[in-house]
């Protein structure tokens, strides 16, 4: 039953690729935005907070359409990026972008919570010992936020694996290029006799999701033990 056809394999591989890139690429901006929201005060903070959370509340189709309007080949940003060789429209990179945008609020929330939980007096102590702001961030803030960063990354990865609405709107459903697991399941369900293939992919989805969750639990526990309660 678990004999996957080449098309199905392609969908699984592509989904993993898209989700991995979406997660890795959104980690640096995710950490930056989480720290900014948790610790800094600046004009437009509430606006930034709203923007980050927008994909969580908008219908995914709307997010996908907005991405198309911004990053499409004929759209201003998309055309400019095409000049330097970066194309999102109807490519797997576009699927990764859509997945990253949809997963971003979840990642930022998890990291922000863990940054807010760090005692700022520890950062003060590091400064009195000679650490500049950058070093304080690298040697105190970042390691102490690691459990939250890991949790955010796993959450984002799982969300990216399952993203459907924004992806199909933005980059369509092209086998081998933009057809991720959910899109493939959807496609198989549209054709007569495709239920078996769909079911196989569903099982794989469930297995991957559970695996990610277990992995995050194990990692979180190991990191928590290392960081220790003060």
């Amino acid at each position: 039953m678990l004999d996957l056809g080449p098309e199905e394999w392609t969908a699984v591989r592509l989904s993993l690729q898209v989700a991995a890139w979406a997660t890795l690429a959104s980690l640096p901006p995710g950490i930056l935005v989480a720290v900014a929201l948790a610790r800094w005060s600046f004009p437009g903070k509430q606006l930034l907070n709203g923007l980050v959370h927008l994909p969580l509340i908008l219908p995914p189709v709307v997010t996908g359409y907005l991405l198309l309007l911004t990053f499409g080949t004929n759209a201003p940003v998309g055309a400019a990026l095409k000049e330097i060789g970066i194309v999102f429209a109807f490519r797997w990179t576009g699927a990764a972008l859509a997945a990253a945008v949809m997963a971003f609020p979840l990642m930022v929330r998890a990291i922000r919570l863990s940054v807010e939980a760090i005692d700022p007096r520890l950062e003060e102590a590091a400064a009195t010992l000679g650490a500049s702001r950058g070093w304080v961030f690298l040697t105190v803030t970042l390691p102490l936020a690691l459990p939250g960063i890991l949790a955010g990354a796993v959450l984002a990865f799982a969300k990216a694996m399952g993203e459907f609405g924004a992806t199909i709107t933005f980059v369509s459903n092209i086998p081998g290029q933009t057809q991720t697991l959910p899109s493939a399941i959807y496609t198989f369900l549209q054709v007569p006799g495709g239920e078996d293939a769909a079911l196989r992919l569903v099982l794989i989805s469930v297995a991957l999701a559970m695996g990610a969750l277990l992995l995050s639990e194990v990692l979180a526990r190991r990191v928590a033990r290392r960081v220790g309660a003060a």
Binding site: R121, V227, G228, A229
Partner: protein, 356 residues
């Protein structure tokens, strides 16, 4: 190196305006909560920027608001020991200790890791994480971490306040060694009379944002007008040198030209000890008492008389180079005509040795 501090800062109805100097040794910032102690120490650390002021260590200016100059916290080269330790939970004791040393750079001159672990007795803890240390151990590591940062100034904000009496007793000797062995100014915030009497070489008494009195500990603590130690512990702090031991089990000490006899101390001749003579343990007589069991009867002169609110009074007596404080009744002041310049004999009922 001397720390010079002059600050003005106004916030939320509180008005701070202080100026003092802290020479090498341990300077206690003493006062009730709300007197401005923590504000002062945080301004010296650079964690708080006062509205106006100048702070300098050994001639190097850390803050001068008139010139718009403020050295950032991480370049002030301090060792700050916080009340709650503030050890990094994700690092081992060894990594915590070396954190500041790493930023101080290779050229830093200061104690080595071995010297500091010896001084503080924390060698066996090096591979543990802070979560597995007791309160007293955490504070000793925090002190070591501050020292290893090769500081030119040590700040301590009630480092013993969160500990019970036994843990305090465990750390006090280390603080004394730190005071005596490192040639650094130590600015130490406290409102515990026992710590002040035992540790202070200089005292700055703060009250409602002002410096009430400042000077060497022996002078400030024997000032009858201030009694920063409170009525029960009020008294003089003397430095005495062991001059010899008698055959009947006593130790002879020289305190500023006066000879004192105490039950035998485990000290070699020539060593100095710190004595605390509480005002309530000193009796005054206008004629030399005879046939009295007290061994220590010192001739002196009344320097100052301060009447209290109740029936009591505090009398400061100079004897040789030392100063004593005596608590007597106002009736005795009248009967004995105690006034500045009057020769008296001070009878010491008890003397406690602060360093043993």
């Amino acid at each position: 190196m001397t720390l010079e501090v002059a600050l003005r800062h106004r916030f939320g109805g509180f008005d701070l305006d202080v100026a003092f100097e802290a020479p090498p040794g341990l300077t206690v910032l003493f006062g009730r909560s709300g007197s401005g102690k923590t504000t002062v120490i945080n301004a010296v650390a650079g964690l708080l920027r006062p509205q106006a002021g100048r702070i300098a260590v050994g001639g190097e200016v850390l803050l001068d608001t008139a010139r718009g100059l403020s050295v950032p916290v991480h370049r002030r080269r301090l060792g700050y020991v916080f009340q709650e330790g503030r050890l990094f939970p994700h690092l081992t004791v060894r990594q915590n200790l070396l954190y500041g040393r790493w930023f101080a750079g290779a050229g830093a001159t200061g104690p080595t890791l071995d010297e500091v672990t010896d001084l503080l007795g924390i060698g066996p803890l090096l591979d543990r994480r802070p979560a597995r240390l007791s309160g007293g151990e955490k504070q000793r590591v925090a002190i070591g971490r501050a020292l290893l940062a090769a500081p030119r100034l040590v700040l301590a904000d009630e480092p013993l306040a969160a500990l019970d009496a036994a843990r305090k007793a465990e750390i006090l000797p280390y603080l004394e060694r730190l005071r005596d062995e490192m040639r650094l100014p130590i600015l130490y915030v406290s409102h515990a009379p026992a710590e002040v009497a035992r540790l202070a070489t200089t005292v700055v008494v703060l009250e409602a944002g002002r410096v009430l009195l400042t000077g060497p500990a022996a002078e400030v603590l024997s000032d009858p007008g201030v009694t920063p130690l409170g009525p029960r512990a009020a008294g003089a702090v003397l430095s005495a040198r062991v001059s010899g031991h008698t055959e009947d089990g006593l130790t002879e000490l020289d305190a500023g030209g006066q000879t004192l006899l105490l039950p035998r101390l485990p000290r070699a001749p020539g060593e100095t000890v710190r004595l605390h003579v509480r005002a309530q343990d000193v009796m005054l007589a206008v004629e030399e008492p005879r046939g009295i069991s007290a061994l220590n009867v010192l001739p002196g002169t009344v320097a100052e008389v301060r009447m209290g609110d109740g029936p009591g009074a505090l009398v400061q007596v100079t004897t040789g180079e030392a100063r004593l404080l005596a608590r007597v009744t106002q009736r005795s002041v009248t009967t004995l005509a105690l006034a500045p310049g009057r020769p008296v004999f001070a009878v010491l009922k008890a003397v406690s040795v602060e360093k043993d």
